[in-house]
Symmetry: C2
Subunit: 414 residues, 2 copies
Amino acid sequence: MKTAKQLATLAKQAAPTIALATTSEKNDLLKKIAYSLQMNATSILEANEKDIQRAKQNNMNEQLLDRLRLTADRLEQLADSVLQLIHLPDEIGDLSAVIHRPNGLVIEERIVPFGVVGMIYEARPNVTVDACALALKTSNAIVLRGSSSAVESNKALVHTLKKAFEQTTIDPNCINLLENTSKAEATQFIKLKGLIDVLIPRGGAALIQKVVEEATIPVIETGVGNCHIYVAKSADLHLTKSIVLNAKTQRPSVCNACETLVVHEDFAKRHLSSLAEALLKEGVTLLGDSFAQSLHASIGSATDTDWSTEYLDLTLAIRCVSSTIEAISHINTFGTKHSDAIITNDNEEKEVFFTQVDSACVYHNASTRFTDGFEFGFGAEIGISTQKLHARGPMGLKALTTTKYCISGNGQIK
Amino acid sequence: MKTAKQLATLAKQAAPTIALATTSEKNDLLKKIAYSLQMNATSILEANEKDIQRAKQNNMNEQLLDRLRLTADRLEQLADSVLQLIHLPDEIGDLSAVIHRPNGLVIEERIVPFGVVGMIYEARPNVTVDACALALKTSNAIVLRGSSSAVESNKALVHTLKKAFEQTTIDPNCINLLENTSKAEATQFIKLKGLIDVLIPRGGAALIQKVVEEATIPVIETGVGNCHIYVAKSADLHLTKSIVLNAKTQRPSVCNACETLVVHEDFAKRHLSSLAEALLKEGVTLLGDSFAQSLHASIGSATDTDWSTEYLDLTLAIRCVSSTIEAISHINTFGTKHSDAIITNDNEEKEVFFTQVDSACVYHNASTRFTDGFEFGFGAEIGISTQKLHARGPMGLKALTTTKYCISGNGQIK
């Protein structure tokens, strides 16, 4: 098994072959990848079954098992999503700016790939394919470190993807998987500054935390979403019910699901009981502050820990506030700068919320569930950035590019 | 003396007052800062004199002393540069994109400030004023950690700047200086994730290295410049002499000065001796590989360490190569991704160099000394990014902003 450093070195050496590939060469490679996924479905599903069996022996819960599981249908969807990338524009080589200086210098700002992207992620093997395809479309090489629970699936997928390079001029080392999934090797991986240009972690809070603290490669932090919906005084009950139920229950395990409801006391007095009933009916466990608890007998007691928790299940914390400013302060204190919504009919209040809530995505009268590259119309998504550097919110192809200044002169000196 | 955490907490609390300030309120504050610098010149220069005296006792060399020294003229230039910011556009609140989705959602991508910027830097006290002014113009609060050698100057400058806030609605805690310049407190400072949104280090390689390894705040790496000029086979001797002399000798202590000359052997055989004469005449020490040494008796011996060294003085390393590909490989191996130039009359060769040299700024037939926010026409500069995330190359006001998605709906659920 190769070390992280060996794999990254190979990827760095291979990177120029994808950097110099034309749009049609890259699209041809993506097409071959989609076909290869279809043609090798049997061996991929066999490998995945090994992961599933091992996970079951380790008592993995059904929800995580479902994320780990590949099926023929899911493989076809994966291949489809690779094919869809072909139709998205290729901005590599485009000029994002041209500056003509008085001294005659012409400064072109060109859109260029990063070089080598590093990805460290958990469980879901579909990320393996998505990340490779997005990296290749943006002319980057990529080194992947998936979780140990998905290692057989990931090996089979990367092996399948590498086959697609066979009749091309692009080096298959443009995609490399770290098969050694030990923690020690992961630590080596995230310190490969100079070999890997950007590191994207995708996973739970513990993984993100480790990467932020230990990585020397520049990181784009993603994903942890302690998302809030603030129900203001003037909110419409019908609209509120519909949005809150959707944001909490449609898919509770994802980062853009709602975790805490912040409710203005005036609204709470009138409608919290009815809203609570609707949520309880959908199986949601409710934990609230003393004000919330006083309004419905089935609301349990929330602590400060609840305000900070990304439940990722059918639990909802409820905090009552006496003003929009208090709501904003709660969100900025306990949130993760991911996605937060206000429900109100007051446009001035909406604007205060938009301006002062310090999150990647702020919503008015809509579900937080829309924070997603596809829902934003980007056609693809590599993750959702919760940091403010480089990219913020859903990241499409553009987030995998950087720029370079190319300056042409005829002898200019300073 | 307040701790880094206390100062950052105060800055975070103060940040909304500058975030909500209008363009004219911010420009008014900048004007007051310029006046305050002029009115308090005497006490600033007295404080600077204390730093100078201490530095002399510590045997600081003349070049560093010069960087530390403030004069009435330099203070006036500093005030002038603050005034100039008033005339630069204020993009905060502008929309960088508007997306209308088929489901009726309107997604605005707004340009917003980071919140709190952290700056850790060495020696030059003018950075204190520049950084504060740039942060305020972009609606950010800032926490500064300057070097211990400039602490008296920095205290006097920040005290002076804070006076300018007196008759405004903007909280003076939007600019805070860490007066405790111990290394332990610096370590605390660069780990204040959650309080500081972005960290910009400016200084030598050791400082940058420490920040990259230990910071938990997202970092924009700046400044270390091991810059190359590659003299290709077809280069014009006259043009080459002019550019190389400028890039090496005009101001050798800065990051965009040339440190290594890479020369095609064909050019070297014909012209290296003459080029060496011109450099020696300007007092440049030359260190070369054996090929270079064989062409002029005054060229000393260079080792691998020389290829990696940012001399920041009148020393130049010379490496001879037999092809452009070898030159590019040398630059990508030993360079710092800052600024590298090719001198050639061959446009195809220029394009290969532009595409394959992995640096923020690549030049054709011009001096590397132009890598600078003012020379690029940005009107201001907070530093020169040598990383690929967020900003690359000279950073003007734009680099101190981020974006936020503001999504307006009328009940959309997923």
